[in-house]
């Protein structure tokens, strides 16, 4: 993994009063459903472009999309007793 990007993002966060300490506001249910569809690869090109732009405008939401992706991993499923 290229660590440069995380260094840059951290630097920007430290340099920005407006970002420091700001809580990420959770997306609403509809947005979460759009994220889940995106995570599954179920978006059209235009829907995907729209979501990418939304996250560029609100980068803190990338973590919610990432969580949607990780929930699809087989090893995160609830083990059968």
């Amino acid at each position: 993994m290229d660590t440069s990007f995380s260094v840059l993002v951290r630097f920007l966060q430290q340099s920005s009063d407006e970002v420091q300490g700001r809580e990420a506001v959770a997306p609403d249910m509809e947005m979460m459903q759009r994220f889940e569809a995106f995570a599954r690869g179920g978006c059209s090109d235009s829907e995907r472009s729209s979501l990418c732009q939304i996250i560029k405008d609100s980068p803190q939401w990338a973590s919610f999309l990432a969580e949607s992706v990780k929930r699809l991993r087989p090893d995160t499923s609830i083990p059968v007793a």
Binding site: D2, F11, L12, Q14, R48, C52, K56, P59
Partner: protein, 237 residues
């Protein structure tokens, strides 16, 4: 794209640096001479490679060493701000680079000041406007320059690449998972990430050169300066 050079764990290898700094502050001249012997040539080289003349680098380092040990005016020794969050050499080269930017800015400002002839004979040159003391590490010159350049460069990355950078490099999404999301081959994800980082690097350095053309800073220097900012400005452990 090169990763930031890793440094030893702060809880182990920087203890020696902390001890050295403590000895220097407490008047151990042998410790100071040994430190200068280890660092001086490297620091000179770094400053010159970043745009200082030899004289500027020499004078800047002479001031810096003095301030590290005895402070300046009402300020405590600069070494008291070293808390062992990064290597001492990295800390010093970062402070020295901030000083260099400040020096160059002062020179530019000095050149821009109106002379009595420019402003009328009844107006003396206002040299009091010039900063009288060298910049402290908290002075915003270099940091603001870096922040503005990086923000502008990031804004120019297209939204798909921007999202991929966040997902893969910040949030641990695997490239093959990202490929599935986008309906791409995994190699396209990899190429997009590389191209986006290259865009950020090239445009950031270009922005910096547009503001301060004398500043010779590589991308690796830039990332290293970003990574040491926290250590430079941070609080004691």
């Amino acid at each position: 794209m090169g990763a930031v050079p890793s440094e030893p764990s702060a809880s182990t290898s920087y203890e020696e640096d902390l001890r050295t700094v403590s000895a220097c502050i407490n008047g151990d001249n042998r410790a100071l001479e040994a430190l200068q012997g280890r660092f001086q040539k490297r620091l000179m080289g770094q400053l010159i490679s970043r745009g200082a003349t030899e004289t500027e680098a020499h004078d800047l380092l002479a001031d810096l060493w003095a301030e590290c040990i005895v402070g300046r005016q009402d300020r405590p020794p600069l070494f008291e701000k070293y808390h062992g969050k990064c290597g001492l050499y990295t800390w010093m080269v970062t402070v020295a680079t901030h000083r260099l930017v400040d020096l160059k800015r002062r020179q530019k400002f000095q050149g821009d000041l109106p002379t009595p002839r420019d402003a009328g004979d009844d107006v003396a040159p206002d040299f009091d406007r010039l900063p009288s003391a060298a910049a402290s590490p908290q002075d915003p010159g270099l940091r603001e320059l870096m922040t503005a350049a990086l923000r502008k460069a990031m804004a120019q990355v297209d939204s798909e690449a921007f999202l991929l950078l966040h997902l893969v490099y910040l949030h641990g999404v695997m490239q093959r998972e990202a490929a599935r999301m986008f309906g791409w081959h995994e190699s396209k994800v990899s190429r997009t990430l590389d191209a986006a980082m290259e865009t950020i690097a090239t445009r950031t350095i270009r922005e910096i050169k547009a503001v301060d053309p004398w500043l010779e800073i590589s991308w690796q220097d830039f990332v290293e300066l970003c990574s040491t900012t926290d250590a430079l400005l941070g609080k004691p452990r």
